[in-house]
Symmetry: C2
């Protein structure tokens, strides 16, 4: 059966996360239902990252196996037709060897987290940013973030329901920047690693926000990391500012 990689973009708001659920809408379910309109199912697709409720996809990657040798462009067009009006789009599609796996072949995940700084409620960006009415000190947050980069035991920044075998991970990048967004000033966090623990990015951002607000010193984040204790983490921030931005593979599956 020909295997296809799908680059998937989605708005997280209407979904209880990526993973198919029995009684709740999911991104995986929406795509599998669209696949069933093309070829009789059941279809089960695998994704590089299983995003939580409200979390968005920009460059999520999944794969599916089809009976027919679809032209990749036609497959993405047909899926997009059947996905409407759900806010899910197949933005790229490629045929790959059948030992290629969206999750297990991935060697890097990159997340973006957006904070919008303004008092008045967001209108165009509602549900797409974590909105705060106080400004944040970017330099202090970057100083704190630098303590997190590298190989560490990230027990402090790991959800209690995380199923990873080990809390040891290598964080390759945590870059904080201020950008001018469509609705006001935004703080963006760019976070990159081979893989992440459950809630790791939201635990980072929630903790760094405390530093940016002046409630924590940058060095407090180093102490929290070294405590290897979930209780030492700052508040976990909401999911609706989080985007799975990019998944890296040894070779770009979509390079034509």
């Amino acid at each position: 059966m020909p295997r296809f990689a799908l680059k998937v973009e989605y708005h997280g708001a209407p979904f209880a996360g990526w993973q198919r659920q029995k009684d709740q809408p999911s991104v995986q379910g929406a795509i599998e239902d669209a696949l069933a309109r093309l070829e009789p199912g059941p279809h089960t697709i695998a994704a590089a990252g299983r995003t939580d409720t409200g979390v968005h996809g920009l460059g999520q990657v999944a794969h599916c196996d089809m009976a027919k040798a679809w032209d990749p462009f036609r497959l993405s067009e047909a899926l997009n037709y059947h996905l409407k009006p759900a806010p899910v789009a197949i933005v790229d599609c490629a045929q790959l060897d059948d030992d290629w796996h969206a999750r297990f072949s991935a060697i890097e995940r990159q997340y973006l987290f957006r904070i919008l700084i303004r008092r008045a409620p967001a209108t165009h960006d509602a549900g797409q940013v974590w909105q705060l009415s106080h400004d944040l000190d970017v330099a202090a947050m970057q100083e704190a973030a630098d303590h997190l980069v590298g190989q560490h035991d990230f027990t402090t920044f790991r959800s209690s329901i995380c199923q990873a075998a080990s809390p040891l991970k290598t964080l390759d990048e945590l870059r904080v920047e201020r950008v001018q967004g469509f609705s006001g000033p935004e703080i963006h966090f760019h976070v990159r690693a081979r893989s992440f623990l459950h809630n790791q990015v939201r635990s980072f951002v929630g903790t760094l926000e405390r530093v940016g607000a002046g409630a924590w010193d940058p060095v407090d984040v180093k102490d929290a990391l070294e405590a290897c204790d979930r209780a030492a983490c700052g508040p976990v921030c909401p999911g609706h500012g989080l985007y799975l931005a990019r998944v890296g593979y040894p070779q770009d599956p979509f390079a034509s």
Copy 2:
């Protein structure tokens, strides 16, 4: 009665335009209803520009008259509280002399129109851009747009239901640029004049798109303008890519 200027931002999708309607939701109606929660009504507010169905506000300006001498910041906070969950936000508020008028004191209106160029359906920007799957020639559109700048009879670019006394207007700016948006390449049109005819911006953009796509030559837009004939206009583009971006006054009402 103290008069207050309100800078209003809104997502146009859930509204049948700015103006209060009997049986349909409107931005004006949403704000007047919120005002009635603060002081007994009826309230009637005036706005600088009466945007159509689906058209967005970024810097719309309206004014209201209140019985109490509200602190402007508290007034905007109270309105935002009662406006929830409608995608309407008061982003600035100031008290002004009672002969100041949001519409009649305005000396300039600036609109933004966004086209998103990509094949896959928009997810995060759905309803906030006009999406096209073909690319557009920005230089050709700018050349065509330059024919429209200045004082002209804009009968060609005026809706048949336009109520303006004269088709003579002075267009101060029509600038076309390519920008990298959140979801892909975008074409932005920045359009500025003292005032506009009904559907003028959407008639401009719909016609310029024909130039950008190569179906019209830039000089065809000059001919269409000089024809002073509605039938010479290109297609009127959809409203959901249009934003009332800024309203100019002799003195900035929100300069604190």
